[in-house]
Symmetry: C2
Subunit: 248 residues, 2 copies
């Protein structure tokens, strides 16, 4: 049986302050749970349905984490998902890593990213295109927000998200800085670098003048209709797809 | 002052049953509200902050809709957004249109689309790429769900969403049917038709065998990393971008 204290811990981890204090975050839902239990991330506690525990019993031996059985109703009440047939894991936040230099060739960067769903989706996109890391300006949404973890569909395990002073990083860069702007060069018709930072603006304001001034190549995704903009994660996917297809 | 009855009406419109019964739906938030008030859609009621009413006072003369002032707290309590600085409009659902044939060259179609955020994002993407319509299988998420309207960022006014028996539509088609499959032809290296239906699977199950059998050309977006899949709206954006860039 889950104790009141454990229940309280799980609920508290929906807030960034409590995640930071405890050094723990939540992983919810079958796919993410299965992935984290197969990874080498440290799992402190798993609260899961009997079905999930049986199906994934092989994982038990691999870790020291405590496993508690729970029904769907308790999972729904404790976590952030409107339905959860599998379980919730309480996982240790890995030690903080300062961004020094890119480990991959292409590094997406977003200024002031606010929406957790967008960050999760962006992490999944980066993982699809084989990128190792994402750079965010300080003050962007927390990578351990449960909605980020959920939307990343397990990709949070493979893509590093760094928070950095983008102005400083870009000022000291040794690789090209590309950015997307409504009046940039048509991405279909521009020779794209095979490495570098790719900067995107946030959901409503685009890229600040301060960072714009540093950009080496301004690109635009051509628009054929009337939508004012694309969602930042969608735009990132289209831009990365254009970069990857130009590599050959 | 807003009456109890009006407040009850607004709250009720969060459910599909009540939207269908009343023939009304909700438009929330500044951008969507501004767009619907400039469109020729029939707006029955606007509940908005004083600031929004002053800023958009020009709209008042254009329509017969009742306008009621409200504070942010009331808007938050009445609607579905966690914050709303502008207002909520109650808008008439246009007469039902049966899908007969495409009015545009490219028509995205999704089988069993469930997530309202994904549909809203897909509508915005279709609008960006200049497409007039989206086809969904019957039983997909309701296009007038408040989360669909919100995520579409006003594009719901320009893109028609039809619910149809996809098997029947595709069986009787006079234009090519392309679909995305994990083992399809590399979209970077395949000659793409300049018109036709583009079929995507739903969030978790992909395309059913019944529809797969009808597909003329199976395509895949190349994967370079480890994410199992892309979100359906993100995948649609990448696929449409590849179609549009191949047009020239």
């Amino acid at each position: 049986m889950i104790s009141k204290q454990e229940l309280k811990l799980i609920k508290s981890l929906q807030s960034k302050k409590h995640r930071d204090d405890a050094g723990l975050f939540l992983v919810e839902g079958e796919k993410s749970l299965a992935e984290v239990l197969q990874s080498d991330w440290e799992v402190e506690l798993v609260v899961a349905t009997t079905e999930f525990i049986i199906r994934y019993s092989a994982f038990k031996n691999k870790r020291n984490s405590r496993i508690i059985e729970a029904d769907r109703e308790l999972l729904r009440k404790s976590g952030t998902l409107s339905s959860n047939d599998a379980g919730i894991a309480v996982v240790k936040i890995p030690p903080f890593q300062k961004f020094t230099e890119p480990s991959g060739r292409l590094v997406p960067a977003v200024e002031n990213l606010q929406d957790p769903g967008n960050l999760g989706t962006l992490i999944r996109i980066a993982d699809w295109y084989g990128l190792n890391e994402i750079l965010l300006s300080a003050g962007s949404v927390d990578r351990y927000n449960p909605k980020v973890i959920q939307a990343s569909m397990g990709s949070f395990l493979r893509v590093n998200v760094y928070y950095a002073d983008l102005f400083q990083v870009f000022s000291e860069r040794k690789i090209p800085l590309t950015g997307t702007f409504p009046d940039g060069h048509n991405i279909y018709e521009t020779a794209l670098p095979d490495h570098g930072y790719i900067l995107m603006g946030n959901e409503s304001k685009g890229i600040s003048d301060r960072l714009s001034d540093l950009v080496d190549l301004k690109l635009a995704v051509p628009r054929f209709g009337n939508a004012e903009s694309l969602n930042v994660a969608v735009a990132a996917a289209v831009v990365l797809d254009n970069f990857k297809r130009s590599e050959k």
